[in-house]
Symmetry: C2
Subunit: 170 residues, 2 copies
DNA sequence: AGTAAGTAGCTTAGCACTAAGCTACTTACG
DNA sequence: CGTAAGTAGCTTAGTGCTAAGCTACTTACT
């Protein structure tokens, strides 16, 4: 880690270079790592939003459909399971389910075993849409990835991120 | 990349394992990489929020103070420069500046060279607060990083993320 | 000088979320 | 059996953002 970076290579390098001037006592390495993670996250989120937009769903709505889809037949989960998986409050989930139900992509029916609960089931149209959307989304992500890294680097990155995510506690 | 993962090692592995059952035709590698980036981003954002909370500022407000701080003396920028740097609309910036000005952490004064514009300047209290906050935030990030990776891995991760971020186009 | 186009910052309306609290129902226990 | 505690999903109020549109001002062109 050389102390003098001749030319900042990305926006995050520019930020740490500024800090090095005004607060040379700080080790900004952690900021550089997580700063890039934040930026990648929001940049890709915006791209994914655009990828799903032609299909009429937001990224958050896609996440609901995808969670149902990958749970396998009969594509049914409870709102509780969905909100837990997607780290969303029940209030937020109610809103998403309202929109998706109105769009005819899923249906809510009473849980026969627990009269407090509901079962949320993907409709045929919902399954078709999510199958299309997941391919479109993967294409956008793959494009971004392959423009930057070769297969070995991608695997390396994935492994390092897994280690970090695991240590962070989910 | 083995097709049968015996035990999922993190939540993202569990997700790709589910996809492998219902859609074995998909290569979910890109999803695994960006899925981890999304999760790390939101998990760390929540932690940073907590780190700044005792000082009475949100993460977004800290970002404003930090941008002013690292710009160096006299810690002055225009709302326009701030909203551009922080990728925020002018409306959002107005709200943040209102709160920070009310808290006495910065002040708005007319730009002497352009009567449309303003100059936003960190107050003495603002400078003190941001100096404390940046140290607290770095500590949280460093802790997460060091719990997972050694110095060599950290540098490797930082480099791979830089490559990816640069290719993504900032 | 006069006018058109561009820019700075603010306001408003709308959106998606959280936190807190509600009702309805289920489970555990004396 | 009866009551207390827990859980499912919804509602409401509040927050912080964006998109669109506003006024005031500056810049560029003729």
């Amino acid at each position: 880690m050389t102390s003098a970076t001749p030319t900042p290579q990305d926006p995050v390098d520019a930020i740490t270079a500024q800090w090095a001037v005004v607060r040379p006592d700080l080790d900004t390495t952690p900021m550089a790592v997580f700063g890039r993670i934040y930026r990648l996250s929001s940049a890709m989120a915006a791209r994914m939003e655009k990828a799903y937009a032609p299909l009429g769903v937001s990224r958050g709505e896609f996440d609901v459909l995808a969670t149902l889809r990958r749970s396998g037949e009969p594509y049914t989960l409870s709102p509780r399971e969905l909100s837990a998986t997607l780290m969303l409050t029940t209030g937020g989930m109610t809103g998403r389910l309202d929109k998706l139900e109105r769009a005819g992509l899923l249906s809510r029916s009473p849980d026969p075993h627990d009269r407090r609960g509901l079962r949320v089931t993907l409709s045929e149209r919902g399954r078709e849409l999510v199958d299309e959307a997941v391919v479109a989304g993967l294409a956008v992500q793959r494009e971004a990835l392959q423009a930057a890294l070769d297969d070995r680097e991608t695997e390396q990155l994935s492994g390092l991120l897994r280690k970090l995510l695991t240590a962070t506690g989910a």
